[in-house]
Subunit: 198 residues, 2 copies
């Protein structure tokens, strides 16, 4: 019953992950009631991002500058590279602030089913970065899925002849994980990678 | 670690009701990855609303047209008026599609504590609408709070001398409500308003 523009805004918000029709409506109500305090700030933030949106030509991150803020940060260890499947993975790892180096976004994972081949990912660019930038360590941070692990194996093979320390994320029990509720695959990994008690 | 613009957008989204920092970040990621499909539609929807945002001069609803879509709808019963405290209440009732008439937004509720007096609400405008528009029925749809009910009583007194059918929303058990979990006030209301079994 609201006007077309308000319905359109509700619809656009409802399509965001984490928002449904009901919460989108509450968000719109908040925006229209707080024009100066909420609507205009959100509008100008969106505009600023839309105008400057760019894919980093070095690592494949999405940012408003190219090179992205991470690649341009001199405090980052330029000799350490963390390879991820997607930009979302990069953001998740960066949020944890645990990795002090830079990133490389593959843009997906190898998949026979979906017809994704090595040349569809940024693997050649990764090799070129390793050749050119004097990289010491490459951390393979693929998802713990069949396709993620296939991709990790493929990259490990491609990098065999380079003098880099190649590591991958540990697999095992997640923090707070209860044995009772974990799948057999995770349990098998955790058991296989068991370590001496410190 | 992301650029200032992306952080600003994340912050603006995180302040919407129903979104926190984590879901705002996921939403931003979705927006930057789907520039054409998500970012630009949301941006133009926001722009359209921002440009045309208006408070309905008849009922107080917020819309992009004045009179609002509800007041302008000829299929609505113009002789039946539902009085609510806030625009949010209007939207909630309108969403249910159960009320075929029009609305009147008070802009709040009487409150000694917060110093809200009758002249701070749109009660005079309500009286004028009743005088001018040939209203038959007024439904008082205030919240079931002390202040909401005080406001309803006050309005009922003000409208005493007009030939309108004055009703208010029924109080009682909410759908799915279990006696065991309901407060005494609700139980008392439900008992007091008990009805013969049909």
């Amino acid at each position: 019953m609201a006007s077309q523009e308000i319905e359109a805004l509700t619809g656009a918000l409802a399509r965001l992950p984490g928002l449904g029709p009901r919460s989108a409506r509450r968000a719109v109500l908040h925006l229209v009631k707080k024009r100066e305090g909420a609507l205009i700030p959100l509008l100008s933030a969106l505009q600023a991002v839309e105008e400057r949106l760019a894919t980093c030509s070095i690592c494949g991150n999405v940012d408003t500058v190219d090179p992205c803020a991470i690649c341009a940060d001199p405090r980052r260890d330029a000799r350490s590279l963390c390879v991820v499947e997607e930009v979302a993975d990069l953001w998740a790892l960066d949020r944890s602030r645990l990795f002090p180096g830079r990133f490389h976004v593959l843009g997906g994972r190898l998949s026979a089913l979906e017809g994704v081949r090595p040349e569809d990912l940024t693997i050649d660019q990764l090799v070129r970065r390793i050749e050119a930038d004097g990289i010491d360590e490459v951390v393979l941070a693929m998802n713990a899925t069949l396709e993620g692990q296939t991709t990790a194996h493929y990259i490990a093979e491609r990098l065999e002849r380079y003098p880099v320390r190649l590591t991958q994320l540990a697999h095992g029990l997640p923090v707070g994980g209860e044995l009772d509720y974990l799948d057999e695959g995770t349990l098998a990994q955790a058991l296989r990678a068991r370590r001496p008690v410190a």
